[in-house]
């Protein structure tokens, strides 16, 4: 019997979110589970808890940049440090939800392409033109998509998702829930693996 869906809350500008997506999908598949993506803006949930931005403090910032590059090598991923790591990802998130309503598989391809654009091609995913190009490359009508991202309904949907995440205690990216159990960070993959194998521990 397949278990319930795994929820993944994340920000498209989070390298650790990118690192977890592939291994998490593989683990989920081994255990007959699906991973549901919930992109959001990390700053928006952290603000609700009055938490500093993750890049606050020069020592932490320089460590995280170094760790992200090293972790990419560890996970076997091509990685190029984005020219600016503080980027607003509301457009990418809204676009994801709009595509997901039409085609879940296509939405995941779009999401993976957004991560790749940001972390391997140094493209500014905060720019409508870049989001349009990524969508267009996947056969999505870029004008229809970009117009939709300005609609009140889609804006509200993203706000609702941020509030839902905050209610569930999400304060970082990536944040995973399996059967209600929270796991923060790509480095919890070994614990996630054990949780799925043993049904909790």
């Amino acid at each position: 019997m397949a278990g319930s869906d795994i929820d993944l809350y994340f920000d498209f500008a989070s390298p650790y979110a990118w690192f977890i997506t592939g291994p998490l999908d593989a683990l989920a598949a081994e255990h007959g589970r699906r991973v549901r993506w919930h992109p959001l803006m990390l700053w928006a949930v952290r603000k609700q808890f009055r938490l500093q931005p993750p890049m606050e403090g020069e020592a932490r910032r320089s460590y995280l940049l170094r760790d992200a590059a090293r972790s990419a090598r560890f996970f076997g991923l091509e990685y190029r440090e984005p020219p600016k790591l503080v980027v607003s990802t509301h457009l990418a998130a809204r676009a994801y939800y709009w595509i997901e309503d039409r085609d879940g598989t296509l939405a995941r391809r779009f999401g993976n392409a957004v991560f790749a654009a940001f972390f391997t091609q140094a493209r500014d995913i905060g720019e409508p033109g870049v989001i349009g190009d990524i969508a267009g490359g996947l056969g999505i009508d870029r004008d229809e998509l970009l117009t939709a991202t300005k609609s009140p309904g889609l804006k509200q949907r993203l706000r609702d998702r941020v509030e839902e995440a905050a209610r569930r205690g999400v304060w970082g990216s990536p944040f995973v829930f399996i059967d209600g159990e929270p796991f923060f960070g790509a480095d919890r993959l070994p614990q996630i693996r054990r949780w799925l194998e043993e049904g909790g521990f």
Copy 2:
């Protein structure tokens, strides 16, 4: 040929520091390395970088408490949540350095006993009586030790260690340096393992 020493900066009140000590020693031994402990007060280094305490924000606090208990199970350690997690560890740190000057092996036994007292016996390691009892149980003269922890020289030594840590970019606990490469968190053990095996990656 044995490599250079591995430096471990940590706070005795950090569960993640406790989790890393055993596996890090085992990895170091496999590679002919020694681990040098540098206990300090996490709040003191974070203050230098204007970083919030790690327990700031109710959502983060409740996650970290849950994660610490789950991580203890993951690492196969007995664990009991300390009655207060915000405890001043300057006394334990000063005592560690004083013992280390006399007997490095005994200092590590003392350090392990401090961790165990805090994380398995719910004892307040900020209390001089508790530190004295732990030391006394290892055959150390408790009165001589407690008097020494008030000496200007030992106080200055701990301050110097905090400043040295800040200069090296330490902003969390545990923080490990191997051949100059920084690793933050017990969850970097897989990367530390690979670093030692491959001499960097």
